[in-house]
Amino acid sequence: MTAQGGRDIVAEARGLVKRFGAFEAVRGVDFTIARGESFGFLGPNGAGKTSTMRMVSAVSQPSAGSLSIFGLDPRVHGPEIRGRIGVVPQDDSLELELSVRLNIEMYGRYFDLPRRVLRERTDELLDFARLTERADSKVDDLSGGMKRRLTIARALVNRPEMLILDEPTTGLDPQARHLLWERLYRLKREGVTLIITTHYMDEAEQLCDRLVVMDNGTIVAEGAPRELIEHHSSREVLELRFGTDAHAAMHDVLAPHAERVEVLPDRVLLYVEDGDDALRTVHAAGITPLSALVRRSSLEDVFLRLTGRTLVD
């Protein structure tokens, strides 16, 4: 599914640039996000994802290029745009001295929402975030996963049309991650546009209809997760481990057995149609790895292919 074709566009960037002094964090990116879509920005730390997010959330001003959110210019209509979106920042930046309930209610006041409306809405949101029992706890006493859910609940207090999540599950344990993903699916079903940055490829594959891969401030690929994998990688990957020092030398030896070979410090990746088949031919050639693993291609492989680097160090 693509954004074009007369659908309602919520965010559109053309040649978007963000400079901090001499440093160019975002170097002319283009993207179009449709209403109801769940759109990802995938890339390693320092790729320019957060800078892009801050411009899309009408918090920081673009240095060059054009950006339109809900058809409005964020340079001029910042407050109006921010009133229609929700932001879940990387560090929760919750009010530690305030109770869980007050964190949501006070945040709602920034949107000029009446207290009566907020009391009702806060109850709903506490329920959504599974924090009803902790409503009167101080935020300081919550676990990391609870804080994250509270940050999401807080970001929903103005019933946003678009929710921007910057690294939503970084630092969470697997159980907390899955609970959070489930809540995000629910929002998506309700028609909320989701914009997610992440450096976890499984998260991107799980949550995003469409994504862009960012590296060094530019977009290096764009498409649906499956499309990207099919387009930029083989069906399967054979991972081989040898003695640590031997890896660099293995490239030429293994090259005839795969469409492409990537040598990483701890393993060698063979991009192939059929992993088990490739392993048999490797063995038949008298090559004996210490260990071998066959898996499906992932966005990690796409990223490696496009940038020559791994996503998570």
Partner: protein, 262 residues
């Protein structure tokens, strides 16, 4: 190139910052109580002790008791100290430690609203403390004129000047160590700005330097109001404090923008 149609000094939304601070501080009544007692103790100490040792001093054309002379200076100092806490210490924490403002700026509020909201909060506290201070002055017999009620807006104006300059200064603070610099500025201001003795005791050139001190201007303004002796110079003093406030707020908003939304 980036045209901005945002108010230079904040909007009505700034009041939500006041509200936020109210929620954050409402359980800390002890801190509020200390704000009432501190000036009261000063007045008491001076009224009981120094007043009798020092004797009368000339204010304008009249001779007044030392307590009457020094009380407006104490009121100005109290307004300055309150402003320093509310504009440097607390906002520094919210700006650079707890990142409170980062979350706020994802809402319709703008940086100018954040800066202005902190000013509302500081001024409200200043108004409360100043009122209690003036009541103490009257109760202890340190006020000689009913015009002393005008010290109330006068003290709030003093707070405005120091709060706005303090907010701008707060953005330059890098770590808690830098707060020593704040003391290095406020302590001499407190001691030498004509708060404890008339600046006519200084050599003329030194007096001219001291008269630039906003605390001197504030103390002189409040002294005139407390004793009901008005002159045109007071308009100049008030104007000076207003100008300082506006310049401080303008710079504070600019600096907040540079730090929070680079």
């Amino acid at each position: 190139m980036a045209s901005r149609v945002l108010p230079a000094f904040g909007s009505r939304r700034s009041l939500h910052i006041f509200e936020r601070n109210y929620y954050a501080y409402r359980s800390q009544w002890l801190m509020f109580a200390s704000g009432f007692f501190e000036p009261f103790f000063y007045l008491l100490a001076i009224g009981i002790g120094l007043n009798h040792l020092v004797g009368a001093l000339p204010v304008g054309g009249r001779s007044v008791s030392y307590a009457t002379f020094v009380a407006p200076g104490m009121l100005a100092t109290s307004a300055m100290n309150g402003a320093v806490i509310d504009s440097i210490f607390n906002p520094f924490f919210r700006l650079k430690i707890s990142h409170t403002y980062d979350a706020v700026l994802s809402t319709p509020l703008d940086v100018t609203d954040v800066a202005l909201g902190e000013v509302w909060w500081a001024l409200s506290r200043a108004a409360l403390y100043a009122a209690s201070f003036i009541v103490c002055m009257v109760l202890l017999g340190d006020a000689t004129s009913p015009w002393v009620v005008l010290c109330w807006p006068g003290a709030v104006l003093t707070s405005l000047a120091f709060t706005c300059v303090g907010l701008a200064g707060c953005t330059y603070v890098r770590s808690w160590q830098d707060f020593d610099v704040v003391t290095l500025v406020t302590l001499p201001l407190f001691l030498f700005s004509g708060t404890f003795f008339p600046i006519t005791l200084y050599p003329q050139w030194l007096g001219a330097i001291v008269s630039v001190s906003p605390l001197y201007q504030a103390a002189a303004l409040l002294r005139g109001l407390a004793t009901g002796q008005f002159d045109l110079l007071m308009l100049g003093r008030a104007g000076y404090l207003v100008a300082l406030g506006l310049a401080g707020l303008w710079l504070a908003a600019r600096r907040f923008r540079a730090i929070l939304t680079p």
